[in-house]
């Protein structure tokens, strides 16, 4: 099998040379392009460097920035986005390396005779050598300017897209990959491509790389030790002190030799063979090794099957370092010595001396240099070489360093070798041979159609000018017009803007092209007229080989890119914009709700129009108590326990028909707490359920009414008051939610004792204040939300006893397991009983379940706890089912004796708002908390545990819509703990905000920061610990999110805030308003600065709103001109962008405009129409 690989296309772009001819001029004259970092690029970077220095943790206070010298490109900030199917914004957000690789590969394909059309769907491989280097990346740079672009910029900046984008754009189906072996990367990529072609992974391959030095700032600590002091690379010279930075890009196109010959390709050189190896375990990972380099050469020669004596030119890696050069020289000597004793027959040089070191890109640049040397048949002088390094004994070896340009005499085909070594030890070597084509093409006869195209009209003009110059310079002297026509057809004709010329020879072509420039496209007549017409109309281009002659690709001028600025400018106002001051004010995690005295209300009569309807339980004193107050002509409805939901529809109808203004729910008026669960059942079914039905019915009727929920000493006014009728306090939590869902029912909860004077009660019923009021005789108090900056841990130091038994309900839930773990870690020699509805699978199934990924958290936690030495038992029971819970608790007591502590963490989340809540679902949520806690107390009444922790919720203070049941159950827990304060058993309720990492809120996706910051697990567990070491009966656990956009909501509850909290809320609300205002002003200013021209309408008239919408779109896409009917998606928009574009449009025009609107409107004209509608609507409101 012929394993030769033909190199059929080349592109190169380095400082001073944008094509192979110019590149050869640099090499053949021994020139070096080292210079200071260009002024223009320096200016663009200075502020960024200052910014980096000023904002590093250890700021560097150096006013001057010193840049390295090197072989730098003039500009790296431009790109022809249209040629690569991008929009200007995308181009701007794309790393210059990506843009350069795309450009290099595009040009190499074109040179090889391939247009996008000819490539589409082909089995072509893309191989890129690249590494992200230390220091700044473009992504880092643009994200510093605008952190919000990160997501959008991903595809333009992650290395894999270097290869993938091109494969995607051109629909290439071969391997597409990026090789990172540091400085040998592109040569290793050549080796990979060769192998891929030989094993049949692809039929064509492009290999390339690019390198720029983003910010070549000189800094004593940032060098890696190979940099030349003055940027000049002096390989093999006595004065060599390192390598200089080089920039540029290069690419080659490879094809199996037989196929290339059959296709009539222009073959620059033949890749005979190659090898890749690694240094292995050398002294240090960065040290090169002459033995493995010698092995590499021997392997490559074997692979190429050539006699090393026939190699006349050696392109060395040659980094010009004191360590590297002698090692490389030694390796070459040793390898040649295995085959020949001849001396001084092989010239050695390196292109790094001419154009600097392109790191990952250097391999392919060396390869292209060797190609140029072979093609020209001349040995070029080594640049920057004056005095040989005395450590390199050239005279005794096969190599010599050429100092002048001279012809390369050779008996057989000229051969060359190319080396590249990567930092870290991966080495590559390739063996090339010249290709001489004996045949001259048969001259063609007759006229042919020469077609050219470009992505923009400007490119097309430049291209035609390029052809004229090329012809005038003799570039087509040896080419046949038929081959020119074929080459342009298959490689240069698939762009949008097109021209065609009829020509019978090159002179003819020149005339035709010159005329095109002056007069534009003329109609083409004759036999080719139809083809020309179809082509010019944008029809598909036929890339089939000619029928009448062998196909032959000839060398033609390369594409003329229409490049525009594609660079994010670093704002020189950064100092002003950057607020280096930080606000590290700390806020406590723990809070409490206190009952604070509040002045009694003035006593007034019955207001005009007031009409009271009271619902009472005839088995209580409620009616008599209400009778002490003058409530006007109040109606009293005596409700027993046998009501239905429909009963309350009748109540609501009455409210509507009789214009009732105040409904008093006075059913929960029992004087003493229930002592048995059956009584709890009865009371909740009567009191809480009636309030549930009543609220629903009133809402469904759409009434506006004051709802007074009257309870009798249900709320524990003083800590430790065991006479509180705690179960009736669930109504407090419930009542807090009604107004959150339906603001036309204003709720006030009056918790009274019977010593409240009648007139005071009347004043309360009719007052305009809402919320919870405790009335005890003449005293009045209400809830106030306060900070608890420090939890007094004046309780027991240790609350877990050796050998103790601790029960956790909800024990296999995430919070339960976390508490279990924290207990076991504090004291491993305890027994933990985890109670949960779901329980635990049998132990013999655990391994299988773990393997299947089911119930893993539960199983691994239990195993971890057992590994600590803790005894763990899991019991299955529903905490909301008193019988089942009682059986479980009794069982625990039988098995383990006394329960020493209980954590009641069981809970079900609330679901729907009251209007849509089903009674069964409502009850279930309440029961787990309320009935569960009651039963736990009841069964441990005779032998109280050391502690009981009730997991309550933020919902009992600041509930959200849909949490009526949850708030009711949790308020009960808070109140229960309060009534049991000071007893032998430490009972504490913890009102949790959402936990951030685990638990119910995570399961329901509500674990974000809202009014409160979501609670990290470790902080939550610390609160549990602190609470248990304190004597508190309650802690509200959650840090207020003062900087959040929802903080204002805290004031919308009928729970007064302490003065310090209120002041902070006030301050942060103002600060937020200012931030939002500034942000929107910034957006408006940015949009206003966008220059964009509208087009697409015949009369050229556009509305102001169309203009401003266009500015918003141009800001997103970067186009200088936009069609008023252009589609958002066709402009390059995607759903990610849509959100930000819609938000810009909304802010700019001061209307509510969201992503759904944008996705429906899609064009500037439709968006503008919609925005105008919205603006008029907004005006109507104002």
């Amino acid at each position: 099998m012929n394993t030769d690989i033909a190199i059929v296309g080349v592109s190169v772009d380095v400082p001073g040379a944008r094509d192979l001819d110019a590149f050869w001029r640099i090499i053949s004259t021994g020139s070096s392009s080292v210079r200071p970092f260009p002024q223009d690029r320096r200016q663009k970077l200075d502020q960024y460097i200052h910014y980096l220095r000023a904002t590093s943790i250890d700021p560097l206070n150096e006013p001057d920035i010193d840049y390295h010298n090197g072989s730098f490109l003039d500009e790296v900030d431009t790109f022809d986005y249209a040629a690569f199917g991008m929009n200007p914004r995308q181009a701007t957000l794309t790393d210059p390396h990506h843009r350069m690789v795309m450009r290099a590969m595009f040009l190499a394909f074109e040179d090889a005779g391939y247009s996008a059309d000819r490539l589409r769907g082909s089995r072509t491989g893309v191989f890129v050598g690249f590494a992200v280097n230390p220091g700044s990346t473009y992504l880092d740079y643009i994200c510093r300017i605008d952190p919000t672009v990160g997501q959008q910029a991903i595809t333009g900046n992650i290395p894999t897209m270097l290869a993938n984008r091109l494969s995607h754009l051109l629909d290439l189906r071969g391997p597409s990959l990026v090789v990172d072996t540091a400085c040998s990367a592109t040569l290793v990529a050549v080796h990979q491509a060769k192998n891929a072609l030989l094993v049949g992974d692809c039929d064509l391959a492009v290999v390339g790389g690019a390198r720029i030095v983003f910010a070549p700032v000189k800094h004593p600590h940032s060098n890696i030790g190979i940099e030349s002091s003055d940027g000049v690379t002096r390989t093999f010279d006595e004065a060599a002190d390192g390598t200089g930075f080089g920039e540029g890009s290069g690419a080659v196109v490879l094809k199996r030799m037989e196929q290339a010959l059959a296709d009539g390709d222009q073959i620059y050189a033949v890749l005979k063979g190659s090898a890749v190896n690694h240094d292995g375990n050398t002294e240090g990972i960065t040290n090169p090794d002459s033995d493995s380099q010698a092995e590499l050469l021997l392997a490559a020669w074997r692979n190429a099957d050539v006699d090393p004596r026939s190699i006349g030119y050696f392109e060395a890696h040659g980094t010009a370092t004191r360590v590297g050069d002698p090692i490389e020289h030694e390796g070459m000597k040793r390898a040649f010595a295995k085959h020949t004793d001849d001396r001084g027959f092989c010239a050695v040089g390196t292109v790094k001396a001419n154009v600097g070191h392109l790191f990952e890109g250097s391999g392919v640049i060396g390869l292209i240099k060797a190609i140029a040397v072979l093609r020209n048949g001349m040995i070029p002088p080594q640049a920057n070489f004056a005095t040989p390094n005395p450590k390199l004994d050239f005279s005794s070896g096969p190599l010599y360093v050429p100092t002048t340009l001279r012809p390369w005499e050779s008996d057989g085909p000229r051969r060359a070798g190319v080396s590249a070594f990567g930092l870290g030890g991966t080495n590559a070597h390739a063996v090339l041979e010249e290709h001489t084509s004996g045949e001259r093409p048969v001259p063609s006869e007759g006229e042919v159609l020469v077609t050219l195209s470009a992505a923009t009209p400007r490119s097309l003009t430049w291209l035609v000018e390029r052809y004229l110059r090329f012809i005038d310079g003799g570039g087509l002297a040896d080419a046949d017009i038929a081959d020119i026509a074929y080459t342009t057809r298959v490689s240069r004709s698939s762009h949008r803007h097109r021209v065609a010329v009829l020509a019978s020879d090159v002179d003819d072509l020149r005339r035709g092209l010159a005329e095109l420039l002056v007069n534009g496209q003329r109609p083409i007549t004759g036999p080719l007229a139809a083809r020309a017409k179809a082509y010019l109309a944008g029809g598909p281009v036929d890339s089939a080989p000619p029928e009448d002659r062998a196909p032959r690709i000839v060398r033609l001028p390369s594409y003329a890119f229409d490049e525009t600025l594609a660079w994010m400018e670093f704002p020189d106002t950064w100092r002003a914009q950057l607020s280096l001051a930080t606000n590290d004010e700390r806020h406590p995690v723990t809070h409490d709700v206190e009952f604070q005295p509040t002045p009694a209300l003035p006593r007034t009569g019955v207001p005009d129009g007031a009409s009271v309807l009271a619902l009472v339980d005839p088995d209580t004193d409620a009616e008599a108590f209400l009778a002490t107050a003058d409530l006007g002509a109040a109606r009293v409805l005596r409700l027993g326990e046998d009501f239905t939901a429909e009963s309350f529809d009748d109540v609501a109808r009455l409210v509507v028909d009789e214009d009732v203004t105040h409904v008093v729910h006075a059913l929960a008026f029992e004087p003493a707490p229930a002592t048995e669960v059956e009584e709890v059942e009865r009371r909740t079914a009567k009191n809480l359920t009636s309030l549930f039905h009543l609220s629903k019915a009133l809402m469904a009727a759409g009434v506006k009414v004051d709802l007074v929920v009257l309870t009798r000493t249900a709320v524990c006014a003083e800590e430790g008051d065991t006479t509180a009728v705690t179960e009736n306090a669930a109504l407090v939590g419930f009542g807090k939610v009604i107004g959150r869902e339906y603001p036309y029912i204003k709720v006030k909860h009056l918790d009274v004792d019977t010593a409240v004077p009648g007139p005071a009660l009347a004043a309360e019923v009719f007052s305009g204040e809402h919320g919870l009021f405790l009335l005890r005789g003449p005293d009045r108090s209400r809830e106030v939300f306060v900070e608890v900056p420090d939890v007094d841990t004046d309780g027991p130091e240790t609350y877990l006893k050796p050998g103790g038994t601790y029960l956790i309900t909800g024990g296999t839930g995430a919070l339960g397991l976390a508490v279990a773990r924290s207990f076991a870690e504090k004291r491993p020699d305890i027994t933990l009983v985890l109670l949960s509805r779901s329980g635990m699978p049998p132990r013999d199934e655990w391994d299988d379940l773990l393997a299947a990924g089911t119930a893993t958290k539960r199983i691994t936690t239990v195993r971890d706890l057992e590994a600590l030495g803790t005894k763990v038992f899991v019991r299955s029971a529903d905490a909301g089912d008193p019988k089942a819970l009682a059986a479980a608790v009794t069982g625990i007591q039988q098995d383990h004796g006394r329960i020493d502590g209980i954590v009641h963490a069981a809970g079900l989340p609330g679901g729907a708002t009251l209007m849509f809540r089903l009674r069964e679902d409502f009850d279930e949520v309440v029961r787990v908390k309320l009935h569960g806690a009651f039963v736990l107390d009841e069964l441990t009444r005779d032998d109280r545990p050391d502690f009981v922790v009730h997991f309550s919720s933020v919902a009992s203070v600041f509930p959200a819509p849909g949490q009526a049941d949850y708030a009711a159950g949790n308020y009960y827990l808070d109140n229960l703990a309060r009534s049991q304060a000071g007893g032998s058993c430490h009972v504490v309720a913890l009102d949790w905000v959402a936990w951030k990492e685990i638990g119910m809120a995570v399961d329901h996706g509500t674990n974000g920061d809202t009014m409160f910051k979501a609670l990290p697990t470790s902080v939550g567990l610390d609160v549990v610990d602190a609470a248990l070491r304190s004597r508190r009966s309650r802690l509200f656990a959650g840090e207020l999110n003062y900087r959040g956009e929802l903080i204002h909501l805290l004031r919308s509850y009928d729970v007064p805030l302490s003065a310090d909290i209120d002041a902070k809320v006030e301050r942060e609300m103002h600060a937020l308003e200012e931030r939002l205002l500034k942000a929107s002003e910034k957006i408006k200013a940015t949009v206003a600065a966008v220059q964009v021209e509208l087009k697409g309408r015949e009369n050229g008239e556009y509305t102001d709103v169309e203009q401003s919408v266009a500015q918003c779109l141009a800001l997103a896409f970067g186009y200088p001109a936009l069609d008023v009917e252009a589609d958002f998606f066709e402009l390059g928009g995607d759903s990610i962008m849509a959100a930000s574009v819609a938000s810009t449009i909304a802010v700019r025009h001061g209307v509510h405009y969201d992503v759904a609107d944008l996705l429906a409107d899609r064009t500037i004209s439709e968006i503008a129409y919609h925005v105008e509608e919205l603006a008029e609507f907004a005006e109507d409101v104002a």
């Binding site: 339906y742 036309y744 849509f916």
Partner: protein, 271 residues
């Protein structure tokens, strides 16, 4: 049992029905003649952007609905339509022929478009009772509930300025979202009374045959029982929730729909 639903104004999109006009050349020619312009150009290309205008939007939606109705499988046990869509339901049930219905729709659209200065907004996320209460609390007299589309989807309509003010008040309800709808008139409110009176005269000149298949009316939420409902429709709210509830009670378990999926999705939001 199955019911076929026809949507009303609001579903119009440039390009709608594009593949149907060629399939039904006779009906299309008839429409062109009745309307005096090319229905296909209006629906597919709309170069003058007339689909934004009630006068054109109604015949366009009606006609595309009708062609789609012809194109789908028949054999439904009930028909119903939302507002304008009722005309399609009546055609499908044999109460009106296509030409008569098209003439009525054209006239209806003209009369409706003559009442200007109106506005409409969709309210989502809260029950209609909440919306009614919020409207009462605003104290405004020129804004009404116009469509009861689903349990928590309602539209309000009325005087343009008052609708805007009411919308702001309703938007303050927890969970409520209010989105303005682009129509010119206070459709389905008492402010349409002048159009109703004139349309009643128009209806008198048309013949209504008995329905082959029952049609459930969005005016009453009951089975269609006479042409006057079409006059009352202009100033009465669309009782879509009631209509769907009636259909379900009659045994309908599946709703099919032409020209979009709006109504089916609304039905899914009716308990």
């Amino acid at each position: 049992m199955r019911c076929l639903l026809f949507p009303g104004q609001g579903v119009q999109r440039k390009g709608m029905g594009a593949e149907l006009f060629a399939r039904f050349p006779d009906a299309t020619a008839l429409a062109d003649e009745v309307l005096g312009y090319s229905i296909e150009e209006l629906c597919v290309r709309d170069p003058q952007r007339r689909l934004r205008d009630t006068r054109y939007a109604q015949p366009a939606v009606f006609f595309v609905n009708a062609l789609m109705g012809l194109a789908v499988e028949t054999g439904h046990d009930f028909y119903a339509g939302h507002s304008l869509g009722e005309y399609n339901a009546l055609v499908a049930a044999g109460v009106l022929d296509l030409e008569a219905a098209l003439r009525l729709v054209r006239r209806r659209a003209e009369l409706m478009s003559e009442i200007t200065g109106g506005g409409m907004s969709a309210v989502q996320g809260v029950p209609v009772a909440f919306v009614r209460r919020a409207l009462i609390e605003t104290g405004l007299t020129g804004v009404f509930v116009a469509n009861l589309n689903a349990d928590t989807q309602t539209t309000i309509a009325g005087d343009r300025t008052e609708v805007a003010v009411a919308a702001k008040a309703i938007a303050a309800l927890p969970g409520a979202r209010v989105v303005p709808i682009n129509v010119s008139g206070p459709f389905h409110t008492p402010l349409m009374a002048p159009a109703e009176a004139r349309f009643r005269e128009v209806l008198a000149g048309f013949e209504f045959r008995p329905a082959r298949v029952p049609v459930v009316s969005g005016v009453t939420g009951e089975v269609f029982d006479g042409p006057d409902l079409l006059a009352r429709q202009l100033s009465s709210p669309v009782e879509w929730v009631r209509a769907v509830t009636t259909l379900r009670a009659a045994g309908v378990t599946a709703f099919d729909e032409v020209n979009g999926t709006t109504l089916g999705s609304l039905a899914g939001k009716i308990a």
